[in-house]
Each structure stands twice: as structure tokens, then as C-alpha cells.
Amino acid sequence: MASATTDIPAAIEPSASRSVTPKRQYPGALVVVEGIDGSGKSTQLYLLKRWLEIGGYRIHFTEWNSSPLVRSATRRGKQRRLLTPATFSLLHAADFADRCERQILPLLHGGYLVLADRYVYTAFARDAARGCSPHWLRNLYSFAPIPDITFYFRAPLDVAVNRIVAGRPKLKYYEAGMDLGISLDRAESFRIFQERILNNYDQMIDTDNFVLMDGTVQVNKLQKQMRQIVGERIELAQFAPTKKK
């Protein structure tokens, strides 16, 4: 009698190999922001990027779901609502792999500071909320380099959801988790879906060494904290503009 569709995995289990940060095999560094929609992460990463750009550092910015490779398939799948939790996840993994193999990894080997708006943890939190096995997800993304810093922007669910709902005329089908059949009301479905994702993120704070950032703090104050942490943890001089001879 157990209905399989509502079985949502409770925990995100990191595989043993991931809990220990391996020695980096490249001169670059990777800084990642994560968090649910409306947590303020993109704004903060943008400001960090501006700070580094203005300073002339060797950086590259990359964001989730931006590769032209799977764009047509994603559009086709979303428009006609053909995506299942498995194919949704695999398509995003393919997209990420393309970005990783052709952008992120070469840049890290080439000594860049790479800034990523969302990373594998987005897939771990979101796809597990759709019912994919956390173990399967961890394996799927095991080719991804582990970030030097993962900022986790956390805002209370109501704050985050209100920011999104206020700014968007209509929530999209998959964005609102309508494929899960939680609720026929999009706003309601979105809220429940985001709550599941938030819970999944929270469980990764310790296992994946997230740096917790309070998304309710004033933007400029939060940015100050972020810049300070980056300055402490990353040897920025390594990415500084080359001096003229």
C-alpha cells in the first residue's frame, strides 16, 4: 500500500570520499554560493564579482543552467512537461558536466578564481526534494571539484518566498515543483517545495562545510562579511593583476 511517489529521502548523505577535502590538483580556486530562491545569494555573488573585477583579479563567473548544450532539450522537456525526477536530474547533470569539463576545470587548471552561482549542492537539495536518491545524486556529480568556499545564504522561508512571489508575475511549472503534485495552487506548491529544499540544504551545512550567511542582514553589511571571509581563506595575491615589468 505504500505509495512510492511520496517517499522523500530525509537525509543527504555525503559519500565517504567527499567528506575529506582532497588536495587540490590545480592552482585556481573555486568559490560557490548556494541557497534557495530569494535568499540573496546572487546579489551577494554579483557584488563579490564586482569587487574582484574592479581590483583586476583573474576571475571567471559561471552560473547554473546556462549552457547552450541542453537548452533546447530543457525547453522541450519543460514546455511539454515530459521531465521525470530522473530525467530532470540527468539533464541538469549533463549541463553541469559540460560547464565543468569545458569551463570550470580548464579555468581552475589555468589559475583562475572561479565564482559559481549555484553548484552541485543545488542538485543535491532540489533533486532529492523531487524524490531522487541522495546516494545516486552524489555519485552522479562525483566528477565535480570540491569548492574552496561554499557560502550558504539562508533566509527564513517566508522571507525568501515573498521575495520571489512579489517579483514574479507567474511561477513556472517545474520551478514551483508542480510535477510533484503537492498542491494545485502554484504559490502553495512553490512554498512546500522550497521548504523541502531548505531542509535539505540545512543538512549539508556540516557535512559539506558550508559557510552560513544570514540572508536577512543588510546587503552591504553581508557583503563586507563575505569579502572578509574570501580574503581570509583565499590567497588573493595569486589572482592579482600581473605587475608590469
Binding site: A4, T5, A73, W136
Partner: protein, 274 residues
């Protein structure tokens, strides 16, 4: 619910067993063994009354010919047949074609695109067919995808993890042919050798023949490993079409409980009967 044309009840208990050699150990529950690991979300194994038959083998091994003939034979016996194959999904089939044409795609991305293609077909075509009691004939399956990725340096564990939600076939046939024979057959068919079938992305040799042979030999070695691990039924793909087809019919007939394996292709397919 019922398998069309099913004859004896004793046969159906045999029907879903994927490894006939381990009868006693598998006696407990046959259901969980239908997936390699955790099942796909929302799939009820007991609903899958159909049969999944996989034909594996490289290009030039005669897979497609055999599948055409088997389809006709099974239909003549009253079984409904559904087919699947690589790059046939609505979701990403054409996208993979485009990626392959560009030659710019990297190995992990390609492996994941093929996996998307596979699961789209599995969830939206194969599982519904199996729920309706159809016979699914798969023209290649996860094994080709795993072998191709392994020879390109992707870990076996990674790939087996990726496909742990795949359905375990009831029967997997491997039409084995030597790379040299496959080369002859492919060349006869297309008058050239394709970029991917000769593994040119792997920079094995500038000589296309050498590249093809080395690549196909690597794939074949991986298949030897997969065959042991997954209990393939190995067939000599170098035999004549009629001869290979007879062996296939015999094994499938005993699995499905079909008494007669007699078959003569219709006029439409007689050109295949060489």
C-alpha cells in the same frame, strides 16, 4: 496485466528471473532483482508483467536484422512488441545526434546525455509497455553505454551507479563478432567508417582501420567483463542470419513458454534471411 499468449503458469514464475543459474538463492523475492539498485521513483515492480529482451553487440553484429525478424516472429505468435534503442528518445535523441556531429562534446557530458536518453525511453515508453504485458526488444542497452564510457576512462563504479535505477533485462543476448568482421560488414554497408564507431575522439591511430580495430577491441574486452558480471547469453554473431535467429528463438521461446520455434520470414523480410 496478462502476458498475451502466455501458456503455462509454471512459465510465468520463470519469466522475471534474470539469472536463471541462481535458482535457489533468488527464490525469496524476484521483484527487487528487477532493478540493479534502488528502483525508479514511483515504479511498482509487481505491475511489470511484460518481458525485456536485450540484444547487444557492436555495429555490424547483425542486431537490427535480428530484431526485425524477432519482431515478426513474436507478432506471429500473438505477442505485442515494443522496441527501444540508443538516441531514440523524444527528449534528447536529436540533441545527441547534433552533439555527435559537432565533435565538441566531452565524455562525461556525453555519458550523461545518453543516460538522459535512456531513462526518458525507459520511463515513458518501456515501463508503460511492460505494464501492459508487452515484449520489449532493446536494440542495445546500458551495457553499450557503459562500455563506451569505460574505454574513455570513466569509472565503472560511477557508471554502474548512474544506471542503478535501470531495469534488469529478463534476457540479454550478446552477438559477438570479431572487430575485423564488423569492419567488413560496416564498410560494405556504408562505404566508409564513422567517426565515433572508429573511436577517433580517442586518438588511437591516424589509420582509420587501425583505429576502428583498436577501439572495437577495447569495447569487446569491456563486454567480456560485463558478460560475466551480468550473465549475458553469448552468441556467435559471425554465423549466418538464419542460424543466429534460430538460437535466439529457441532461448526466447523457452523463456516465454512458446512451444513451436518454427519460423519462416514473410516476403517483406525475406531479403534479410541470408
Amino acid at each position: 496485466m496478462k502476458r498475451p499468449g502466455k501458456i503455462a503458469a509454471s512459465v510465468s514464475s520463470n519469466g522475471h528471473r534474470s539469472k536463471p543459474s541462481r535458482k535457489a538463492a533468488d527464490k525469496i523475492l524476484e521483484a527487487p532483482s528487477r532493478f540493479y539498485g534502488i528502483p525508479l521513483p514511483g515504479v511498482k515492480i509487481e505491475e511489470l508483467s511484460g518481458t525485456l529482451i536485450v540484444i547487444e553487440g557492436t555495429d555490424g553484429s547483425g542486431r537490427s536484422t535480428q530484431i526485425s525478424l524477432l519482431t515478426e516472429w513474436l507478432e506471429s505468435q500473438g505477442f505485442a512488441v515494443q522496441t527501444m534503442g540508443l538516441r531514440r528518445s523524444y527528449l534528447v535523441g536529436e540533441d545527441i545526434d547534433a552533439l555527435l556531429a559537432e565533435n565538441a562534446v566531452t565524455r562525461t557530458t556525453l555519458a550523461l546525455m545518453y543516460s538522459t536518453d535512456f531513462f526518458d525511453q525507459l520511463e515513458r515508453r518501456i515501463l508503460p509497455a511492460l505494464r501492459s504485458g508487452l515484449i520489449v526488444l532493446a536494440d542495445r542497452y546500458i551495457f553499450t553505454l557503459i562500455a563506451r564510457a569505460v574505454v574513455r576512462g570513466i569509472g565503472r563504479d560511477y557508471l554502474h551507479g548512474m544506471y542503478e535505477m535501470a531495469l534488469r533485462p529478463d534476457l540479454t543476448f550478446w552477438l559477438d563478432v570479431k572487430p575485423e568482421i564488423a569492419f567488413d560488414r560496416e564498410f560494405k554497408k556504408a562505404h566508409t567508417i564513422s567517426y565515433w564507431e572508429s573511436g577517433r575522439d580517442m586518438s588511437l591511430s591516424n589509420d582509420l582501420f587501425q583505429s576502428f580495430i583498436r577501439y572495437q577491441s577495447m569495447i569487446r574486452r569491456e563486454f567480456e567483463y560485463l558478460s560475466k558480471r551480468h550473465g549475458f547469453i553469448e552468441l556467435d554473431g559471425e554465423g549466418g542470419v538464419a542460424q543466429v535467429n534460430r538460437v535466439l528463438r529457441k532461448r526466447i521461446a523457452s523463456h516465454l513458454g512458446i512451444r513451436s520455434t518454427h519460423y519462416q520470414p514473410s516476403h517483406a523480410l525475406s531479403h534479410l534471411w541470408r
